[in-house]
């Protein structure tokens, strides 16, 4: 096995709990982040992701459990001794110091020699494309520039781990997209482990190597963006990462690599057996992402081996790249169907009966009730 480069440092959380009074903000989470990885904690506000970040940064200490940085237990190490730096949501730039002094702050505290401070600070300002701004004060910067200073101020210290607490939240959409790409570029250049916290699923998916979806202080699922999107483990994950169609049913057959689920209306759905591996009992909800549905033309046969259900088309919204339909299944369940604007299909008028088909491999399942 090739040893990991020395600049890459891993992080491990073991059974970490954080309670404030009687309220459990983080409820027994364990996860491990590999050195050099871009890892995201994704979840709605109040899910415990920011508290988790605070504990890793050393601003809060866990009520129970341990945090390991490079194999060393740092749970009780104060933030100013911990080799972790943070890009704060509010940037928290020091308003009385110049951009140069903001970026140099950490190096000066560590007692780095003055000429090296100058060299590294200037290098870092160049990396974030702010070389000409060294003498300005934070008040003279735009949001995007301030964000880059915050990033430079953290990265210049070459921490073992960089924490990013919703750093793009305050930027407008266009700038956010730019910064997402910029962050990925910088991360691959410096090779530091990034832990990114966000409530924006698109952002998390666009940037992360892997991500953890959190809800109510717990981790619901950890995986690559594709894993988590295509095979959500819980109903929460399925609905938090984009729209999904969930149809309740009962497992009626499992043999070989295939399994069958009978839906409420009696329709029989085929799906890979592996999809049901985590399901307890025989009650199940099968899920299909809206873009995985194909609308069959009248009389058009469905592709061999694909599943099919019937639906009534409702209103639709035109979004340029696709048209999004609201539909209703035979049993009255709301369905969402996205048709790619490939020019191959006529628009479906509201009220028409349609047949929806999809590849069994694109089915996921969560435990039903």
């Amino acid at each position: 096995m090739i040893p990991a480069p020395s600049t890459r440092h891993d992080v491990r959380l073991e059974n970490v709990i954080k309670q404030f009074g009687g309220w459990t903000a983080v409820d027994n989470i364990s996860l491990s982040i590999e050195g050099g990885e871009f890892f995201s904690l994704l979840g709605p506000s109040g899910c415990g992701k920011s508290t988790t970040l605070s504990m890793i940064g050393g601003f809060e200490s866990p009520s129970a459990g341990a945090i390991y940085l490079d194999g060393e237990d740092v749970s009780r190490q104060p933030s100013y001794k911990r080799d972790v730096n943070t890009v704060f949501q509010s940037y928290a730039l020091f308003p009385h110091l110049t951009i140069f002094e903001n970026v140099a702050f950490g190096l000066r505290r560590k007692g780095v020699k003055s000429d090296e401070v100058t060299r590294r600070t200037n290098e870092m300002l160049e990396l974030v494309d702010l070389a000409g701004f060294a003498k300005r004060k934070p008040g003279q910067l735009s949001g995007g520039q301030a964000q880059r200073v915050a990033l430079a101020r953290a990265l210049v210290n070459k921490p073992k781990l960089l924490l990013l607490d919703e750093p793009l939240g305050a930027l407008d959409l266009k700038l956010r997209k730019q910064m997402q790409i910029e962050l990925k570029r910088i991360q691959s250049e410096v090779g530091i482990t990034f832990l990114f916290v966000t409530h924006d699923q698109e952002e998390a998916m666009a940037m992360s190597d892997r991500l953890a979806v959190m809800s109510k202080g717990r981790i619901e699922q950890i995986g690559t963006p594709a894993d988590v999107y295509d095979h959500p483990a819980t109903e929460f994950v399925a609905s938090f990462l984009g729209a999904s169609n969930l149809l309740p049913g009962t497992i009626t057959a499992q043999n070989g690599a295939q399994a069958q689920v009978t839906l409420e209306d009696g329709a029989i759905i085929t799906l890979p057996r592996a999809v049901l591996a985590q399901i307890a009992g025989d009650k199940v909800k099968i899920g299909v992402r809206p873009e995985k549905f194909h609308v069959l033309q009248p009389g058009e046969p469905r592709p061999d081996g694909w599943n099919e259900i019937e639906a009534i088309a409702g209103v639709s919204v035109y979004l340029g790249v696709s048209r999004q339909y609201e539909m209703e299944s035979k049993t009255g369940r709301a369905l969402s169907v996205y048709a790619q604007n490939s020019g191959r299909q006529e628009d479906i008028p509201p009220g028409s009966a349609v047949r929806l088909t999809w590849n069994p491999a694109h089915t996921f399942a969560v435990t039903g009730t």
Partner: protein
């Protein structure tokens, strides 16, 4: 026409203040400066002279009082700063939603007349009073021990009376400081003490600066504390001026001393602003 009115409005609105300043500040100031150079007495009247030697004589005659005033003023202001900073800091950062309650408690003694408050201290500190009396009876303090009429009684009185005037400007700047900056400093390897020195202190410099001016100027010119809590050895310029005005009715002397004090304070403030102006402090912090 409308534009002209809009242009004039700020001047018209400030007109009453200008009239007020002219009547009650500039005219008396000019009259004081004139009186400093006048000769005569209250009965036969005064005539102007160009005898500025008189003014210089007023300074050399009471040099020690001037020195004392500045020394008491500086000492009391520095001590007030040292006491009020932690209080303002605590209220701004830790008092939560009770901030205004604590500020009110600090202001509360100031609803009592200034002279009454100083008299209360005279009573508390008196040689056989309820504080020193029992301690002397028990032999903890020697019989000859006294606080009243020492410089510490005067400086203590000045500190007590300027406390709230320093807490308020400090509170105002500290309250505005984003606490997350401290977190950011900790994140960047600054231990709590370093974070305070590098972040909180420079950001609160405007309050330290404003409070210092407010308290220092008031205390240098004060005479009530020295008159009630001090003794013959603690005479400040304010006391000399008061005596010259009310007792010997030597108005030219009183006016000369006042003018000199004013000039010295102006020079002191100018030097102070140059040396410790907010910008200088913040640049130093970097």
């Amino acid at each position: 026409m409308r534009q002209a009115r809009g242009f004039l409005a700020p001047y018209l609105l400030s007109l009453p203040s200008w009239v007020y300043l002219l009547a009650f500040f500039l005219i008396p100031l000019a009259s004081m400066l004139g009186m400093a150079l006048a000769v005569g007495d209250p009965i036969s009247g005064y005539t102007m002279s160009d005898n500025y030697q008189e003014v210089i004589g007023a300074f050399t005659g009471y040099e020690s009082s001037f020195v004392r005033s500045f020394w008491y003023g500086t000492a009391s202001t520095v001590i007030t700063l040292a006491i009020s900073y932690p209080v303002a800091y605590w209220i701004a950062f830790y008092a939560g939603r009770h901030k205004s309650t604590y500020l009110f408690i600090i202001m509360l003694p100031f609803f009592v007349s200034f002279v009454i408050r100083v008299l209360a201290w005279e009573f508390i500190l008196s040689d056989q009073g309820f504080l020193l009396g029992p301690l002397k009876a028990l032999g903890v303090l020697p019989e000859s021990f006294r606080i009243l009429s020492t410089k510490w009684a005067v400086i203590g009185g000045l500190v007590y009376n300027s406390f709230a005037y320093y807490v308020l400007p400090l509170y105002v700047v500290l309250e505005k400081i984003d606490r997350r900056l401290v977190r950011a400093a900790n994140d960047l390897y600054a231990a709590p003490a370093t974070a305070f020195i590098k972040i909180i202190l420079p950001l609160s410099a405007p309050g330290i600066f404003a409070g210092f001016l407010l308290v220092f100027v008031t205390n240098v010119g004060d005479y009530v504390n020295a008159a009630l809590l001090g003794g013959p050895g603690t005479y400040m310029v304010g006391n000399v001026i008061q005596d010259a005005f009310f007792q010997s009715q030597d108005y030219p002397l009183a006016a000369s001393l006042s003018s000199i004090l004013m000039l010295m304070l102006m020079i002191a403030i100018l030097l102070y602003s140059k040396a410790f102006g907010t910008d200088a402090i913040q640049e130093y912090a970097a």
